[in-house]
Symmetry: C2
Subunit: 523 residues, 2 copies
């Protein structure tokens, strides 16, 4: 059988650090992150209609929280909340609040709304567009202490939990009950369930389990005026009125704070397979995808692609040899299947891979033989975001494009950067390390990462608005799953019409007339 051509040996790689990244253990270089307000001084200024924090305000919040650990004012402790994970944005908040109940959040927001104190809701702070960090002196409301599983129904598979539960914690709890969280992403060890809902995260298995707009059944959220909106239903179907919770999915903390989530979880598959393939062209990537969807159909749970350049950086980051040892290839594919019968799944995968080899689409490949190897192969995909920061920083573009055009953006970006003479993989004098591409082919979602040694206006000028204009010309989206945040606030016009933007702004004004919720971002 053709599938015998596949090697079954996988280097024993420890589980990627990207998956177990825990809050507070990041290593900071000595170089401090410049203030967002200074880097983008020409773009954004403090809204002087917002009140400046005073001692009386802090005293009020201490009274609400009744817990000194929940009120952070120490400069060193504030740093984690002010800075983003990419070390690109830094705010100047002097106060972080960590409420433990929905009622406390209600009191905090009602007060802030009345006093016009601006706030930034923050989950695991793993966002990629500066959406969860302050820009000026906004108060950070961290959800990390609102972190209880509320209930789980093993018959329906419906989980209800606080928004601050860490995604991996939720998934481990579900695993013990034979279920799986319908979303998975590299930052699962740090990101919050509520944060994934607030940003409408997509992640690695959207292909199989669909978007959060379908799987989230109910939400609890606090509106800017302190109103507690509770639709934490445990029903799969409910057609009584507009589905208002949908507005909060992907709202990035701009119209309220999500405090509780009710979500439908699928049965945990008992059989998993992961194959890692090397192919010669992006055209082959597309052909393998079309075949996989047809032949693997209901058991296909991930189809990820990575360019060769991303794997070079990842090998350096992980300090390991690549699992496919027969040479460097321009493209790699990770295919995951999951199902209820290992024998059936193995047979489907082997038949599919055999056909792909016979058609000459696949040059080399490997199939994981046990759970350790499954994790090892996934780490070559999931470590790319961290590997991208190997030089010091990364400009991330998370875009939706028609499948045929997906990789064209990476090629074009590389041409532009090369022309500007600013790229050098091993040339420390050049500001750009490399521009790499990878992502979720199954969802038409590309991640273009421009890996840099420093953030600079010169690099930005080469990339923007070029990237956005290119996406617009292909009728794509400038943000497939990362959201708008601070980074893309001014670029929504590349993906939305004037009428849509007007309607979005109307909704923002409807729920947050004082504009205190996550200002300077989104719209």
């Amino acid at each position: 059988m053709a599938s015998l051509a596949f090697s079954t040996r996988v280097s024993a790689v420890a589980r990627s650090s990207a998956r177990v990244r825990a809050v507070g253990v990041r290593s900071y270089s000595s170089k401090s992150v410049p203030l967002t307000a200074e880097t983008y001084a020409s773009r954004v200024q403090r809204n002087e209609s917002f009140k400046k924090l005073e001692e009386d305000d802090v005293a009020f919040f201490r009274g609400v929280l009744q817990d000194d650990h929940g009120v952070i004012t120490d400069a060193d402790d504030l740093l984690f909340y002010n800075e983003d994970w990419m070390r690109k944005y830094r705010g100047q908040s002097s106060l972080v609040l960590k409420p433990k109940t929905t009622e406390q959040i209600s009191k905090i927001l009602a007060y802030c709304n009345e006093k016009k104190l601006a706030v930034v809701p923050q989950g695991g702070n793993t966002g990629l567009v500066g959406g969860s960090n302050p820009v000026f002196d906004e108060i950070v409301i961290s959800l990390s202490s609102l972190n209880k599983i509320r209930s789980f129904d093993p018959v329906s598979g419906i989980l209800k939990c606080d928004s601050g539960v860490i995604l991996e914690t939720a998934d481990q709890f579900l695993a013990e009950n034979g279920y799986i969280f319908p979303l998975d992403l590299g930052a699962k060890g740090s990101c919050h369930v509520g944060g994934t809902v607030a940003t409408n995260a997509g992640g690695l298995r959207l292909l199989r389990y669909g978007s959060l707009h379908g799987s989230v059944l109910g939400l609890e959220a606090v509106l800017p005026d302190g109103t507690i909106y509770n639709s934490l239903d445990s029903l799969r179907k409910d057609n009584t009125g507009y589905d208002l919770k949908q507005l909060f999915i992907g709202s990035e903390g701009t119209i309220g704070i999500i405090t509780g989530v009710s979500i439908l979880c699928p049965s945990r598959p008992v059989a998993f397979n992961v194959a890692f393939l090397a192919v010669s062209s992006y055209e082959a990537v597309q052909k393998v995808f079309v075949g996989a969807r047809r032949e693997l159909s209901e058991i296909l749970s991930a189809f990820e692609f990575m360019d060769g350049k991303s794997q070079v950086l990842t090998a350096r980051h992980l300090k390991l040899d690549h699992p496919i040892e027969s040479g460097e290839y321009p493209f790699y594919i990770l295919i995951e299947t999951s199902g209820s019968n290992k024998e059936h799944d193995d047979e489907k995968l082997e038949t599919f891979l055999g056909n792909a080899m016979e058609e000459g689409l696949v040059d080399d490949g490997i199939i994981a033989q046990d759970d350790t190897q499954v994790k090892s192969l996934w780490s070559w995909r999931e470590s790319i975001p961290e590997a991208s920061t190997i030089g010091g920083g990364v400009y991330k573009y998370d875009v939706s494009l028609p499948l045929a055009d997906l990789y064209g953006l990476v090629e074009e970006a590389n041409v532009k950067l090369a022309k500007a003479g600013i790229v050098g993989l091993d040339d420390e004098s050049k500001p750009v390390v490399d521009a790499i591409g990878y992502g979720h082919v199954g969802d038409g979602n590309l991640h273009l990462n421009v890996c840099v040694r420093e953030y600079s206006k010169e690099i930005e000028a080469v990339l923007e608005p070029f990237v956005y204009e290119w996406i617009q010309s292909k009728k794509g989206s400038i943000s497939a799953e990362h959201g708008l945040g601070f980074q893309k606030k001014n670029y929504i016009g590349y993906s939305k019409s004037d009428i849509e933007i007007k309607m979005i702004k109307e909704i923002k004004n409807h729920y947050d007339p004082n504009g205190i919720m996550n200002p300077y971002k989104y719209v």
Copy 2:
């Protein structure tokens, strides 16, 4: 093997008329449907702030449509649009408009909004809560002439079509391309794609393909002031701003008219199996369901239950012997699997059924051997709605309940009706034929049908508010998939809190300040 106990013979039943019901071919009894305004005179009165239609208005509309066939004023022709399918509601509209373009709808709505002429958007008129029929003299805007497939991308599986395309037409088009519409329901031969979106229809395969909130990627809709909102994206992921299209999914024509739909369609499975089982108790239904979800997992595409009484009526309606000939059973189950490998699916289903027989959960059963038998078995489930009207009418309650409580409502309703002495299956002097239960166990969705010989206040007094209070006590939903429409307008409080109702009303007022869109209904 235990599965050998299954008979493989299925009576050759013609495809259910419920599935091929076409617009305009209903047979009306001589007895006319009473006017909604008279039946519910104590509950609803004409809003006198709405303008009454005049000749000038009709002339304007004729000018917009430029087509005499698109302007209906003849009393006989109006009847179809004024009456609902259950023959329970009848409005008094003197004008039906059938625009052919989104721009025409924009002009019509802008005019109506300015003049305060109330309108009712209408799809295939297959709704079950009187939502698509006028109550007084509202103008009906039928989408039936806006019925073109706009585009289909065979790589991504994304279909874009006008809202007036008939569901079955869309599905047949997709079948030719190897895809399937992610929604199926009994009325597919008449209902419109846009109508299913406007009512957030659930149907028979939600268990497998999820809700429309997940699969609809974009919408085009006309707002009451004539604004054309176009988010007809062809992207699987787009996180740029609030997902406003979600508000229109399930809005029942109260904030705008959906004119175009972009929807993600899954690959069409190549292997289908249908099993029809007889079981002795509702407890056994639940146990078989839990087992099916575990063992059939990714290939399970429908799990429907029917009580024995529903099958008695269906046999009379279809004039056929029941496919399970070994006697009458209290409950029946229809299980559908669909996948990419017939051999694998057969093996999974046989193993599962063998286990269920061995455990004594299943008393008898049958597996379809070919496509004709698949359709035949489905007709015993899909014909129930039509069979329910065998006596002349039906009170339909479409509810979500926790699985354990699902059938309790039917039992309680029967006790109440029996106590009132108004039920007689074959006693023509009694107003109620029977109260039957069936539905989508996989979604916690029960249909309680109270089959009647006439609609009367006496019957309604026995059923309401009893049914709604019972649902509220179990924290269920008074409308799982049918919506609120006219029937449930006043009962939303049984499923939504005061805060939620307030927020829903605010959205209605935000988009439709003059209240011209589908008045007297929803909220």
